[in-house]
C-alpha cells in the first residue's frame, strides 16, 4: 500500500467540515498513512470547468496532482467529483504526451512539472481494495443498527470504461462496506439515479435539480430508511441542504439525515456523532440522534 495524501476539494472543508474530521479520525484509527496536501485548490469541478476549457481543467488538476507527487503520495479523494476530475486528468496526462507537454508549459510558470508518478484513489474504492469488508468488520467496535439508503453517486462508477469498478447498473462493493459497519443497505427503486446536482445544474437551475432530488428522497422515504449514506459531498449537499430548499420551494418535509461514509464508519469505529460533525448538517433529525445515542453510549 503506497502512502497517501488527503485531497479535500471545496465542499468538504468549506461546507461540511465534519466529513473532513470524520475522514481523519477513520484514517487514523485504521492506521492508514495519510498526509495533508497543503495549498490544494478546487479539483477543478468537472461539470463546469472541465466542460468550459480543457487546458484550464488539466492545468489546475495537474497542479493538485503535482503537489501529491512532490510528497511521493497517491492522492486520496473523498468526493466523487474530485475523484472523477483528478483521476481522468491524471489518466489523460499520463497517456497523452502532447497534453502533458502543453500542460507542463503552464505549470512551468509556477515552477512545477507534472511527471505522472502517482495514482488517484477514492476512499470507498480504496477501502474496498486495500482493506475489504471483512477487515473493516473486524475493526468495528459499535455495530450499527441502521437501515441505510445508499447513494453511490454517478461519478464513483461512471463512465465505467475509465473507472473499471464493475457493474454500473447494480454494483455491490459500496453496499458491502455499508454492511461491514453492521448497518443494513436497503434496496429502493432508482437507487442508482442521479441526485440532480451535477453538471452545473444545481448552480444554474436549482429548482430543476431539486425535482430530481425530490424524486429520490420520496423513494428513500417510502423504503423506510433511517438515513442516506453517500461518498460525495456534492450529493451530500444536494440531499441535506436540498431538503431545506425543497421544504421552502415545494412545502414538502422529508427530514432524512445524510451521512458521508466516513461519518458512518466513524460511528461504527466508536466515535460519538458530535465528533464526526453529524449534528452540523442542516437536517438534524432528533429521533435519529436518539437512535444513535441508544447504540453508541
Amino acid at each position: 500500500m503506497s502512502k497517501l495524501s488527503l485531497f479535500l476539494g471545496c465542499i468538504v472543508p468549506n461546507r461540511y467540515p465534519g466529513i473532513e474530521k470524520a475522514t481523519q479520525l477513520c484514517l487514523d484509527k485504521l492506521d492508514i498513512d495519510c498526509s495533508d496536501l497543503p495549498g490544494a485548490s478546487c479539483c477543478p469541478a468537472p461539470g463546469v470547468f472541465r466542460s468550459f476549457d480543457k487546458p484550464t481543467w488539466l492545468a489546475l488538476a495537474g497542479r493538485n496532482i503535482v503537489l501529491s507527487e512532490e510528497l511521493g503520495c497517491d492522492v486520496l479523494t473523498i468526493c466523487n467529483g474530485c475523484y472523477g476530475s483528478l483521476t481522468d486528468a491524471n489518466h489523460e496526462l499520463k497517456e497523452n504526451v502532447a497534453l502533458k507537454k502543453s500542460t507542463n508549459v503552464h505549470l512551468g510558470k509556477i515552477g512545477k512539472k507534472y511527471e505522472g508518478t502517482v495514482d488517484v484513489r477514492h476512499i470507498v474504492e480504496f477501502l474496498y481494495d486495500e482493506f475489504g469488508p471483512e477487515k473493516i468488520k473486524e475493526m468495528v467496535v459499535k455495530p450499527l443498527d441502521l437501515k441505510v439508503a445508499l447513494h453511490y453517486g454517478c461519478h464513483l462508477v461512471k463512465p465505467s470504461k475509465e473507472r473499471q469498478l464493475g457493474s454500473v447498473e447494480q454494483p455491490t462493493f459500496f453496499d458491502e462496506l455499508i454492511e461491514a459497519t453492521g448497518a443494513k443497505s436497503i434496496d429502493y427503486p432508482d437507487k442508482m439515479a442521479c441526485c440532480g446536482a451535477g453538471g452545473g445544474v444545481r448552480s444554474a437551475l436549482l429548482e430543476r435539480s431539486l425535482e430530481m432530488t425530490k424524486h429520490k428522497l420520496s423513494r428513500i422515504r417510502d423504503a423506510g430508511a433511517d438515513c442516506i449514506v453517500n461518498a460525495c459531498p456534492f450529493c451530500h449537499l444536494q440531499f441535506d441542504s436540498g431538503q431545506a430548499e425543497i421544504r421552502e420551494k415545494f412545502a414538502l418535509e422529508y427530514n432524512i439525515p445524510v451521512l458521508h461514509y466516513s461519518q458512518l464508519l466513524g460511528l461504527a469505529l466508536g466515535f460519538p456523532p458530535v465528533e464526526l460533525g453529524i449534528d452540523l448538517n442542516i437536517i438534524t433529525n432528533k429521533e435519529f440522534f436518539e437512535k444513535l445515542r441508544g447504540r453508541i453510549e
Binding site: 472543508p13 485548490s41 497542479r63
Partner: protein, 159 residues
C-alpha cells in the same frame, strides 16, 4: 462557428455521433429529462443534422450522470459529446450567468465554493483550524493558481 465545424470539432476529439439510430434509449434513461426540456436523443439528432446546437439551452440541463452513455447501444459518448459542445459554446461566449459567477469565485479564491463565517464556526466547534489547509491558508498557493488561470486565459474566457 459554422454548423459543420461543430461536427468536425467533435470528430477531431474522437466523438462520433453519426452512428445514432434514434432509438431513444438515451432520452428514456435521462433523470433530467423527466423534469426538464432536455431530450438527449434530440440533441444528438440536432448535432448530426447541423441544427444550431450551441444556442440550445437544454445543453445546460445535463447533470453529466453518464447513464445515457453507459446504455447507448451504439456506444456513442453522449455525455462527453454534450460536454464538448458546451466547450464550443463557452468559447463562442455562450454561458449561463451562474456559471460565470462560479468561475469568478475560482479566479478569486481558488475554490468554487469558498469558506464563510458560518463554516469557520463549525470548524472551530469540531476543534479544527477555522481556515482549512488549502489555498485558503496559503496566499502563495492561491497566487500560483491565479497564475495558471491567467496562463490558460481562463480569466478572459469567463470575463
Amino acid at each position: 462557428m459554422s454548423k459543420s465545424d461543430v461536427l468536425n470539432t467533435l470528430q477531431n476529439a474522437g466523438l462520433d455521433v453519426l452512428t445514432c439510430m434514434q432509438c431513444g434509449t438515451c432520452s428514456s434513461s435521462c433523470p433530467s429529462g423527466r423534469y426538464t426540456s432536455l431530450n438527449t436523443r434530440r440533441i444528438v439528432r440536432g448535432t448530426c443534422v447541423g441544427r444550431d446546437i450551441l444556442h440550445d439551452e437544454d445543453l445546460w440541463m445535463c447533470t453529466t450522470c453518464y447513464t445515457c452513455q453507459e446504455r447507448c447501444p451504439r456506444e456513442i459518448k453522449i455525455a462527453d459529446t454534450i460536454l464538448a459542445i458546451r466547450t464550443i459554446a463557452v468559447h463562442e461566449g455562450i454561458m449561463l450567468p451562474a456559471h460565470r459567477k462560479v468561475s469568478q469565485l475560482v479566479l478569486k479564491y481558488g475554490h468554487a465554493v469558498p469558506i464563510n463565517d458560518d463554516v469557520k464556526e463549525k470548524r472551530e466547534k469540531l476543534k479544527m483550524d477555522p481556515i482549512p489547509g488549502t489555498v485558503h491558508k496559503y496566499p502563495e498557493a492561491l497566487a500560483d493558481v491565479q497564475t495558471l488561470l491567467r496562463s490558460c486565459e481562463f480569466d478572459k474566457l469567463v470575463a
